[in-house]
């Protein structure tokens, strides 16, 4: 067995051992053992993924494990990227979970669920037949559902979130199943190799149906609009390390699915497929970040930010597919490399952000930004790490998402003149969407970091916060280190993605980007050096500070009073809250967001001219949910009410239904046979 296979097997074995330890082990050491074993399997996953990425693939077939089909696995470079991402996220989340699950989450099932979830996410990218893929996908869905519901005794919104998640993920599974089974029906067996060969002989209508149904399922898993409604419900209610796993590793598998089916199995397809993917990406990115900008719940905001980032990945995939369909393989390689790099970057900073949000929740008991503040004095390490994640998420240099957005932008810019017909409409829209998204992301994360961590605490809960325990800080530190490494040394990562890109578009032979300190585009002109840029920035900061020290006065710094218009020291109520910070943006985008406001005035008992209390309520609902989901749900409910008439409680009637249907069937049989 080659090293890749060995590491992959170690990863799986580690998760099985962790699950067994959780179910059967003693209570006291459960958290630590499970956390350590899961972290080890995460490290093995990273090794397996990196090994697969650098060229050594791994295949195994287990025909007896599943009746009728058997299981088949094949880890190629594309799958390797996602296995490595899962492994990295697992390492940080598992170590973090040791400290986080101390209170209330160290039951057997809650602890055992995490390793099994990780195992399923390591299995999905390696699946090499339809049956294997569907089984591992469903395993992933079920274990994540179990983990989302882990805290259902503490809060009642958890049950509702779990219901939404269960229904939507299974509808997605059905769509994927329909698509893949349609494809497999045209092939001699259900292995991916056979599907690849059979796809060439499909009619355009059939391959379009396969692509669109699988796109529906995979884009729902990735949290793309309009099938995103589960994401901002499920991610806040899950425990924070599980949110990190779901948001960073699981939603990326939606993008994996699109790449695998659209590029690898179906072989590319016509242009309009990729315009569809691009359109979904554009809408998801803009809508996601808009809702995130309006949100005052820290984890809900991060959930919507995941929708936005997956939208950016879909824009990259759509652009890549578009260029590949037009024969521009260099540009296609560039756009796809940008999409893959953004998946990796997003996993890194989203893990860090969710773990940081979990620390805040753990310390203060609330996720509401309007109730936080002043955490930088009480939780300095968490603040610094969250700031690093926020820098990454807002795509500013020297953050890590800046590099992938630069690559995406370069792909779009160079694709405009020669990307094929229709690009002169599609590319400017995509560029405008990416730019608007970047701007809104900056506003969102300035709001999150500034309102949540800086200034003064707004409530007692924030006032009494203490720094997180060491294991949580170590977990966050791991994620932060990865973010920093990706920000400064993307030259180590991006050229290695060439093999993964080559799986999807075999015509791409050279890596899209090369260089050691500077990212240099191949085939087109463009270069960027994040490392040198950061170094120059640091030198400039230090130089300026030194210059100020030289030129300015030597007097010591004194504390002074804030400007309060002479009215006396200000309370924490005077600070800007997250709601007020986002208010100008909300006014600008009022037609899209349509917030609901309500004012209840209770008058004094004795006089209608005096006011006792005024209650102001403002909610920003999800407009797409309103417009799209409510009618569907109302229809289903009406259908159910009609169906209720059939069930009046009499057991005899129910039995009668069965009996009559059998007799009718037999009569029909008798009539047709004689």
């Amino acid at each position: 067995m080659n090293p890749v296979g060995l590491s992959w097997a170690v990863a799986l074995g580690g998760t099985v051992a962790a699950a067994l330890a959780a179910l059967a082990g003693p209570h006291r050491s459960r958290r630590v053992v499970v956390g350590v074993l899961t972290a080890i399997s995460g490290a093995a996953g990273v090794a397996a993924g990196v090994g697969a990425l650098t060229g050594s693939t791994f295949t195994v077939a287990l025909p007896e494990l599943l009746p009728l089909f058997g299981l088949r696995f094949h880890l190629d470079p594309l799958g390797g990227v996602f296995v490595a991402v899962t492994g990295g996220v697992t390492m940080a989340a598992a170590v973090y979970g040791i400290g986080y699950t101390r209170h209330g989450l160290d039951g057997r099932v809650a602890q055992a669920g995490v390793p099994v979830f990780v195992a399923s996410m390591v299995l999905v990218p390696a699946a090499a037949s339809v049956a294997t893929f569907l089984v591992t996908w469903e395993l992933m869905a079920l274990t994540s559902l179990l983990l989302v519901l882990a805290e259902h005794r503490r809060r009642q919104q958890v049950a509702e979130a779990g219901l939404w998640y269960a229904v939507m993920t299974h509808l997605g599974l059905m769509a994927i199943m329909i698509g893949l089974v349609l494809l497999a029906a045209h092939a001699p067996d259900d292995g991916f190799a056979a599907l690849r060969d059979a796809a060439g002989g499909l009619s355009p209508a059939m391959s379009a149906t396969v692509f669109v149904t699988t796109l529906v399922g995979f884009s729902s898993k990735a949290g793309a609009v309009p099938l995103h409604a589960w994401l901002p419900r499920a991610h806040p209610e899950a425990p924070s390390h599980v949110s990190a796993l779901m948001s960073a590793a699981m939603v990326s598998l939606g993008a994996y699915g699109i790449m695998r089916v659209g590029f690898d199995l179906l072989g590319g397809g016509p242009r309009w497929w990729w315009w569809l993917v691009l359109a979904i990406g554009v809408v998801s990115a803009v809508y996601g970040i808009l809702q995130a900008a309006m949100s005052t719940d820290l984890k809900r905001m991060l959930g919507y930010s995941t929708t936005e980032n997956m939208g950016l990945v879909l824009i990259g995939l759509g652009a890549g597919g578009m260029f590949a369909a037009a024969g521009q393989h260099v540009l296609a390689g560039l756009a796809l490399a940008a999409a893959l790099l953004h998946v990796i970057n997003h996993a890194a900073f989203k893990t860090l952000l969710f773990l940081g949000a979990g620390s805040v929740l753990h310390a203060t008991g609330t996720r509401d930004l309007d109730a936080l503040g002043g955490l930088r004095d009480r939780m300095p390490a968490t603040t610094a790490l969250f700031g690093l994640g926020a820098l990454g998420a807002s795509a500013l240099p020297p953050g890590n998402a800046f590099v992938s957005e630069w690559l995406l932008f370069q792909g779009l810019v160079h694709g405009l003149p020669n990307g094929g017909p229709g690009t002169y409409v599609v590319v400017p829209i995509a560029v405008a969407a990416v730019a608007l998204t970047a701007g809104l992301a900056i506003a969102t994360f300035v709001k999150a970091f500034g309102v949540g961590f800086l200034a003064k605490p707004r409530t007692d809960a924030a006032h009494r916060a203490v720094e997180s325990p060491a294991t949580m800080l170590v977990g966050m530190g791991l994620a932060g280190a990865v973010c920093a490494a990706l920000a400064l040394l993307p030259t180590r990562v991006v050229p290695a993605l060439a093999d993964a890109v080559a799986v999807t578009t075999p015509a791409v032979t050279r890596p899209a980007v090369e260089g050691d300190l500077t990212l240099r585009l191949v085939g087109v002109t463009g270069s960027l050096s994040p490392l040198l840029l950061t170094v120059t920035l640091l030198v400039a900061v230090v130089g300026t500070a030194a210059g100020v020290r030289l030129v300015a006065t030597r007097r010591a710094r004194r504390q002074a009073r804030l400007w309060d218009c002479g009215a006396g020291p200000m309370s924490a109520r005077m600070e800007y809250t997250a709601t007020s910070f986002a208010e100008p943006l909300q006014r600008v985008f009022d037609d899209v967001i349509e917030p609901e406001q309500g004012v209840d005035v209770t008058h004094h008992r004795q006089s209608r001219y005096l006011v006792d209390t005024i209650v102001y309520r403002r909610r920003v609902p999800d407009r797409i949910e309103r417009r799209l989901y409510q009618p569907v749900l109302a229809l289903v409910r009406a259908w159910g009410v009609q169906g209720r008439r059939l069930a009046n409680g009499s057991v005899h009637r129910y039995l009668g239904y069965g009996f009559c249907s059998i007799v009718v069937a037999l009569v029909m049989l008798a009539v047709t046979w004689s």
Binding site: A647, N648, G649, S650, V651, H652, L655, G656, G658, F659, I662, V663, L666, V667, L669, A670, W673, S674
Partner: protein, 218 residues
């Protein structure tokens, strides 16, 4: 197949069908349970004749198992669902006895017509008895639908299972022991559950009239 074994087979099948018809006719629950036990004996008789004809030990074991389960164990379990005191009479069924017997006749005809293609597949004295099994299935279903008391409905369910076993025995003549074991265990489990439910119902409602369950509808 020798003449005498064919006659014995037809005798067992006749007894099998007769007991099913009598279940529809009789009203007392204790009598119905006794008839069900007799039907179990008839079914094991069918299996025993086939075992002698095939000269297979497996079939003999099967026959013994069927006898033990369906003639002894299951009637005991169902008897426990009856009320402890008083004559256990069936209250007025949904369809009165005369109409039920007419319905049974129609069902027998239907079963005969439907089973013809099965018989044509491989005509032999054994397969000619298949319509009997199918009739018992339909009769069992009919009893299940039209009886008000839980115990008689359970008997109807068990009649269905007996009929299915009979059809299986007569068509293939080689049910693997494993399959029969699995099916029997399922049936046992179902009956245990139903018995439990009947006891609970009696405790809650004072009787096991299933129509009272409509009170639970919201």
């Amino acid at each position: 197949m020798t003449d005498i074994s064919v006659q014995l087979l037809y005798l067992a099948c006749g007894a099998f069908l007769l007991t099913a018809v009598l279940v529809v006719w009789r009203r007392e629950l204790a009598a119905i349970i006794r008839l069900f036990a007799l039907q179990g004996v008839a079914l094991s008789g069918i299996a025993a004749v086939l075992a002698v004809h095939e000269r297979s030990l497996e079939h003999a074991v099967l026959a013994a198992g069927i006898c033990a389960l369906r003639a002894v164990i299951l009637p005991q379990v169902v008897r426990r669902a009856l009320p402890p005191t008083g004559p256990a009479r069936e209250t007025r069924p949904l369809v009165n006895v005369a109409a039920s017997l007419l319905a049974v006749a129609v069902l027998a005809l239907l079963a005969y017509v439907v089973a013809q293609p099965l018989v044509q597949l491989s005509p032999s004295p054994v397969t000619r008895a298949i319509p009997v099994g199918l009739t018992v299935v339909l009769i069992g279903f009919f009893v299940l639908v039209t009886r008000r008391r839980a115990a008689s409905q359970v008997i109807g369910f068990l009649l269905i299972d007996n009929g299915v076993t009979a059809v299986a025995l007569l068509t293939t003549a080689e049910i693997p022991l494993v399959v029969e074991l699995g099916v029997s265990l399922d049936v046992l489990l179902a009956v245990l559950v139903l018995q439990l439910l009947a006891v609970r119902m009696r405790a809650t409602f004072g009787s096991t009239e299933l129509d009272e369950l409509t009170e639970l509808r919201d």
